[in-house]
Amino acid sequence: MALELKSSDNKIFEVEELVAVQSETIKSLVEDGCADNVIPLPNVDSKTLELVLDWCKNHVDMKLDEEKLKEYEDKFIEVDQAVLYDLLLAANYLNIKDLLNRACQKVADMLKGKTPEQIRETLNIVNDFSPEEEEEIRKENLWAFEE
């Protein structure tokens, strides 16, 4: 059985139900009987959706071959930051657990050794601590910055 998914930029993707239900969000729609028409996905653009569907398809195809799947996953996640964040948001919205886990782990690995300033820059976070407050907090665990 095939389902039709529509990306935010109005591109239609025809997908096997088995592949599409890797997404818990789509799975619930199917189970509730709301998947007869085209399913709109306003939060995912076509570029990202194509990647996501590739992930889902490979997870169905390579289900029994753990090694091959791992190889695929490792290669898949080697994307630049912008794409990685789009994948993160899509995996979250579509509720695809394994993609979300993998993407989160990848981001975590990237952030691991960074300084707080670098974190703020990468993730576009405003520092709402005063310089004195920040100094206080740093002092609590100074050794974490030093080694």
């Binding site: 930051q81 964040y85 979250n92 691991k112 707080p116 976070i125 601590f129 907090i137 974490a144 080694e147």
Partner: protein
């Protein structure tokens, strides 16, 4: 990069090692609140256990049979080890040795090591080496019953009580008169959550027995191998071993048969492998080591248990045991001592399985008085002194 929703940030942060999280506390007010939140702390622990990543080994260097320094070796993924760092132990004082009793999640229980087991009031501390904070247990006197002249530690053990989400230390003191078999026991339990000791009515069940192994905590239950005392010396166990368990939640002792029905000679080492109790039996120096996994456990099997002998031990098991240390980690990981930093020296490995940030932060939230902090200036001064003694 547009803002990521908070649930994704939480997922990402839950996969970071403790040291990174401590650095990121100052990123923003919402990050500070998130990282310190007890729910996040639980999630982080759960994630760490689930993914088996970012573990740290705490190595206790043993020279001439005595414990000396502690090192930590971080290993983010299997078989990939970072540099070893020397750790400052909270109970360190000139002239006193500190020994690791056991560890649970990422709390390590340490105490002053002394060959004089009659000193029952040694300092004990619970320590989280990854965030460098510790708490010394309040001193607890013992109540010697009349008619007995001597006392000694029968056992101290450390474990995690699943039901009450609490870390506990068990202390059992034996009272005796020289040359006489009659003994009395005092059993007390310390709770980290309440930071206090409590005497419990439960009695040490096998009064004629002595502990013949280390203690191990599994599923909220402490375990030891015990065997009968030799008639002439209480400190040397003899005879067939059985397994003694203390349930931390219901605070009761249970006795089991072990899968290894043999007389204790060099004793049994207890470990937890793949979530099961593991017996490492060294019948004789240089002989083959037997490793048994206790597959079935529970009330129903109270008086019997099935052991599964692990076949085909990789050759480095034997090498590891010969230098006095054996490493078993959860899952199939076995560390080749040849890969660890200090391979020439004899090492006693304590398995430090999880990175835990939580226990410490959770207790702050539970309105328990502040843990003692290794304050920056004090720390660096003592560390220098500590390192100077290394020559």
């Amino acid at each position: 990069m547009s803002h990521l929703p908070v649930e994704i940030i939480t997922e990402i942060l839950s996969r970071l090692p403790v040291k990174s999280l401590l650095r990121f506390l100052c990123v923003s007010k919402s990050w500070y609140a998130l990282i310190k939140h007890p729910d996040f702390i639980k999630l982080h622990l759960h994630r760490s256990i689930e993914t088996n990543r970012d573990r740290t080994l705490i190595l206790e260097k043993v020279t001439d049979g005595l414990p000396h320094y502690c090192y930590s070796v971080h290993f983010p993924i299997e078989n990939h080890f970072d540099k070893a760092f020397k750790l400052y132990q909270p109970l360190y004082r000139r002239g006193k040795l500190v020994s690791i009793l056991d560890c649970c999640h990422s709390l390590v229980c340490i105490h002053h090591f002394t060959l004089e087991i009659h000193h029952c009031t040694n300092e004990i501390a619970i320590w989280n080496p990854l965030i460098r904070k510790y708490r010394i247990l309040p001193p607890e006197p013992m109540s010697k019953p009349s008619g007995f002249n001597f006392s000694k530690y029968n056992e101290i053990a450390f474990g995690y009580d699943l039901c009450n989400d609490d870390y506990k230390v068990l202390r059992v003191i034996a009272f005796y008169n020289r040359g006489q078999p009659l003994k009395e026991f005092e059993v007390k339990v310390y709770s980290l959550r309440w930071h206090s000791w409590r005497k419990i009515e439960e009695q040490w069940p096998k009064k004629e027995c002595t502990v013949s192994s280390n203690s191990v905590s599994l599923n909220g239950v402490l375990h030891w191998s015990i065997a009968e005392d030799t008639p002439y010396d209480m400190d040397i166990p003899l005879g067939v071993e059985c397994l003694l368990a203390f349930d931390l939640a219901i605070e009761k002792f249970l006795v089991f048969k072990t899968p290894v029905q043999r007389e204790v000679e060099l004793g049994t080492c207890l470990e937890v492998l793949k979530g099961q109790l593991c017996f490492i039996v060294t019948p004789d120096l240089g002989a083959e080591i037997d490793v048994w996994l206790m597959k079935e456990y529970g009330e129903a099997k109270k008086n019997r248990c099935e052991g599964v002998e692990i076949q085909n031990l990789p050759h480095w098991f034997r090498t590891a045991t010969c230098v006095g240390s054996l490493l078993l980690l959860d899952g199939d990981n076995v560390i080749d001592p040849g890969r660890a930093e200090e391979q020439e020296e004899e090492m006693h490995y304590v398995i430090f399985r999880r990175i835990l940030f939580y226990a410490f932060c959770v207790h702050e939230v539970l309105v328990v008085p502040e843990w003692d902090d290794l304050g920056a200036s004090v720390h660096s001064m003592l560390v220098e002194e500590f390192l100077k003694n290394d020559s």
